[in-house]
Amino acid sequence: MRKLAVSDEILLTIDKPARYIGNEYNMVVKNPKEVDVRFCMCFPDVYEIGMSHLGIQILYDMFNKREDVYCERVYSPWPDMDRAMREHKIPLFALESQDPVKAFDFLGITLQYEMCYTNILQILELSGIPFYATDRSEEDPIVIGGGPCAYNPEPIADFFDIFYIGEGETKYDELLDAYKEMKKNGASRREILEGLAQIEGIYVPQFYEVSYKDDGTIETFKAVNQYAPERIVRQAVTDVTNSSYPEKPLVPLMRVTQDRVVLEIQRGCIRGCRFCQAGMLYRPIRERDVNRLKELADKMLEATGQEEISLSSLSSSDYTDLKELVYYLIDECGSKGVNISLPSLRIDAFALDVMSKVQDIRKSSLTFAPEAGSQRMRNVINKGLTEEVILKGAMDAFRGGWNRVKLYFMLGLPTETEEDIEQIAVLSDRIAREYYTIPKDERNGKVQIVSSTSFFVPKPFTPFQWTRMATPEEFLQKQRFLKGKMKEQLNAKSIKYNWHEVELSALEGLLARGDRKLSKVIMDAYKDGCMFDSWSEYFVYEKWMRALENNHLDINFYTARERSYDEILPWDFIDIKVSKKFLEREYEQAKKAVVTPNCRQNCSGCGAAVFSGTKCGSGR
């Protein structure tokens, strides 16, 4: 019988013990003594969220294909378990072997959103690994970070030995080989870090020094170790069809957030929405061959027995062979009792046909993400969706029997005026009006419109990386204004307006474009009890504000400040192969509300073509 790290008494007193026992179907079992490298992969949030993440499944599978590596997993213990572990002095353990994380060669932490930063400190503390990379000894694992937030690693730079900048499939083999070799030769921790720093895409923060001007902006950012390159270049897969993909994904024992097989149909996006970080970070579009996808779908469903398959990409509708793939899945899955979920589909005739086949029209809703209410604003953010297209899509759907619509918008976009905000209410209402143009006996009861707004948070490596973010007060004012406008609409009763928490967005804005000075703030907030900040029941804004104040830092310096093009941004040393010139040009076009054509219409020469197989933008 497997021996668990935690006693029955504890597991039966805490909530959802299945989070901590491993043993999922398709879990990889190896003898840790028979491998050269032990890698513990961490998603710093609760099990149900972490287990739903595709990236970890890809790397878990890829690492474990190597005989000399055993990759295991760990997630953030929920506060009840956290308490029990501290009380009983149980060190954080990996799910597979149930061995302490501290015994591993690597602790790899995926950084999917800023609000998980305090959870990183929890992971380190429970593992017994010193918080600061420079305090770690030969006994400690090498702590490596990756994922979208690694593109501005500076706020958490002090806590990591290494950041991996780019897509995991590209350089990890080289990294693991190099590590194995150095370990065999008895290299010291420092020698290992120097060795790894020479691999493309690897950033070792302690080999760099930052100095600041009096106004708080960066004066210089310099490599201070001879092996550390001045610039870190993003690594990306060119041929996604033949890159590693898990054919036997893990099947959790308990219900998780995304309880399904995930098929990543393509990486990158042709659209170039100016607010979207993923759209820039994962350029260019790279499509996975449709035959490979069919094969993967069959294999994954067979190996997991999952009852649902979901297509994953930033904009599924742009996938060239989407029809072929989707109709194949409908034929294959339908007969086997498997549901298909198709997020990020643009509403058109094809989408409506597919939706009517895979879901119950009466229970499902249409989703549009215009992101902004007015056409001017949509031009600013380069969202190619027009009101005409939205209304036509909605109308076709209404005629097909749908009567529920979800709309997603952002508040606080650059150059936004009250007029633009009002248009959010007007557009919501216009959709409802369209519905009621259908004769009563042909429509399906009342229309229900749910309009949601989130607050715009500028992100690094987007054309809006220089822009001023609104303050919480401004956001709230915009929200109140919109609420009032919603009430004025003819169909106000049919429109439900949802909004986000402003404080969470403010903090996200702080951390997203933060610098190294923020590491102390994160530490102080954690010491003050902050953890699971992305969970509203645990998020305490006041503690963060106190931590900022104690460190004499002003949140508005990071959020509500327009940067100039010549300012050194904290993430400037990273080269994502989308040129800064292109981003600058895009910001200028945005200010003029001029649209840039998408990659298939016309290449704008952003620079990402270096990762493209043939003709960039085609996806092939």
Binding site: M1, L253, R255, E302, G337
Partner: protein
């Protein structure tokens, strides 16, 4: 559709998996094993299955039952093997039987369960524990105050204690019990231990003992909704749930 019954065991770390999660595990395992399961109609078709009785979190068992409907069957042996090939070592299928067309679900006919109760590692009992417990369970009545959120109710647990045996030979404590179960009346085995501790004026810690379910029975002499507890006029005729169908070869 063909009605069928699976008997399975749940051991080791799987004891931390809740009842609904076991159901989901089977749904996926049946798919992996390519068993020809029957589905409900509609946009979200689900497999037609039901369990005899949910096993509490923390308990292990070698006598769990799952009823399901199939469109076709190969052989019992083949189905057991195919399932076990795609299931955890700690969740094993023991038996597969096809039920008569008019068979009632195991949930509706369940009447009694066997349990084995042992001492959890690291815990200790006082010297004459076995004798004292034996004497307590031998009393004519075992009164116990059941406390729920709304009310407190005094019940006599003796009525639903069909059999028990304490093993005096074994080095470690081991108690066998057969108690009333099912949708009409259901008792948990730990109630007897709790009652015993309370009779001594001591506090019962739920972690002292490990509980393992051994078998489930139907009472073939009971009508629908009827429970023949100790003292009732009718005689109980208990038959394990696995004995209601046929092995297919």
């Amino acid at each position: 559709m063909i009605k069928a019954r699976i008997k399975f065991e749940k051991t080791g770390s799987m004891k931390f998996i809740g009842h609904l999660d076991v159901m989901r595990y089977f749904q996926k395992a049946l798919k992996r094993a390519k068993i020809d399961v029957g589905y409900s109609e509609g946009f979200n078709p689900h497999q037609l299955m039901s369990f005899a009785s949910p096993l509490g979190l923390g308990l292990t068992s070698c006598g769990e039952y799952l009823d399901l409907q199939l469109k076709s069957v190969t052989s019992s042996e083949d189905i057991v093997k195919r399932l076990n090939d795609v299931m955890s070592e700690e969740l094993r299928v023991l038996d597969f039987k096809v039920l008569p067309e008019d068979a009632k679900t195991s949930m509706s006919i369940l009447a009694a369960c066997d349990y084995k109760i042992t001492l959890r590692q690291g815990y200790h009992l006082w010297e004459n524990f076995r004798q004292e417990l034996d004497a307590f369970l031998g009393n004519d009545t075992i009164l116990f105050t059941k406390k729920t959120k709304k009310s407190t109710k005094e019940v006599d647990l003796k009525q639903s204690l069909y059999e028990y045996k304490i093993d005096y030979e074994a080095e470690e404590f081991s108690l066998f019990m057969q108690v009333t179960s099912g949708s009409v009346f259901n008792v948990k085995p730990e109630l007897y231990l709790q009652a015993f501790y309370e009779s001594k004026g001591m506090e019962y810690s739920p972690f002292t003992f490990e509980i393992h379910r051994l078998e489930m029975y139907a009472d073939t002499n009971a009508k629908k909704g009827e429970v023949n507890m100790n003292g009732s006029d009718k005689k109980r005729v208990l038959q394990p749930l696995s004995e209601f169908g046929e092995t297919v070869s």
